[in-house]
Symmetry: C2
Subunit: 161 residues, 2 copies
């Protein structure tokens, strides 16, 4: 069994989810969010993300990770702080030696639903189905993170890594 962490990057709220897989079936383990307050200066806010994500990795010991890419059509000003947080998340995975795949929202939708233009709710319903959950995981960021983890498993399976 391989343990995979999925991450939906953010600065104030980052979704994460842990699944196990034998390459065919999925087992849901847990999910949650990493939260930071804008009352902290940015370097300490990033340190808080690093510390929280490090603790999650130490606890669940994933060997693989799937992390969503950022897509900002317009507002570069709001994109940069989120990109800085995502950089810290990629670093944390790198520091822990985790094999990491990065996936666009379209790739994740294609992988989880079979349709790159699927709606958010379609993705969430498929996450619920594939992980045999009784309800859609909340909040949305965590459901998106679990979708990123599932996408990574599909991707690695195809690549025969």
């Amino acid at each position: 069994m391989v343990t995979v962490i999925g991450i939906d990057p953010g600065l104030a709220n980052t979704g994460w989810g842990i699944i196990e897989t034998d390459g065919i079936r999925f087992k849901y383990i847990t999910h949650g969010t990493i939260n930071t307050t804008n009352k902290l200066p940015s370097n300490l806010r990033l340190k808080s993300i690093y510390d929280q994500l490090s603790d999650i990795i130490d606890k669940y010991k994933p060997s693989h990770a799937g992390i969503e890419t950022l897509y900002f059509a317009k507002n570069v000003v709001s994109a940069l702080p989120v990109a800085q947080a995502r950089g810290v998340q990629l670093l944390t995975l790198g520091n822990k030696g985790i094999i990491t795949g990065e996936y666009t929202p379209i790739q994740i939708k294609q992988s989880v639903v079979g349709n790159g233009r699927a709606t958010k709710i379609q993705v969430q319903e498929m996450v619920k189905l594939l992980l045999k959950l009784k309800a859609i995981p909340k909040p949305d960021h965590a459901a998106d993170a679990l979708a990123a983890a599932i996408c990574h498993v599909h991707s690695v399976r195809t690549a025969n890594v």
Copy 2:
């Protein structure tokens, strides 16, 4: 004497410089660049930045840092990877407990030259003058990093921190 590191953030090339100050005079210590290759996947590239910057901090033991903000008027696609790298640099400073100030290019020009619309060469000439150097530090990124360090000293002096 206080040791200050200045950083001009980048992904492929990050400028850095170290100065000492008693709050009035400056003493140049050294400068350089942190380089990464685009042949590495992004999480290992960010890890390389983290490791290189950590080594510099461990060697010169700055207690303060001045780091330039990013300014991207147009191209968000090229901005995001640099923002990710800058996030890792802010994190590295946070993990080392370094008091960090973030400054826009205009603030740095205003602080170093006395004119927020100064040219790049004017900034570099003032860096050379203030640090009593025989030549303008090369490459440009490192000169910009030393300017960020000087700006931080001016800023902290004004704030009486």
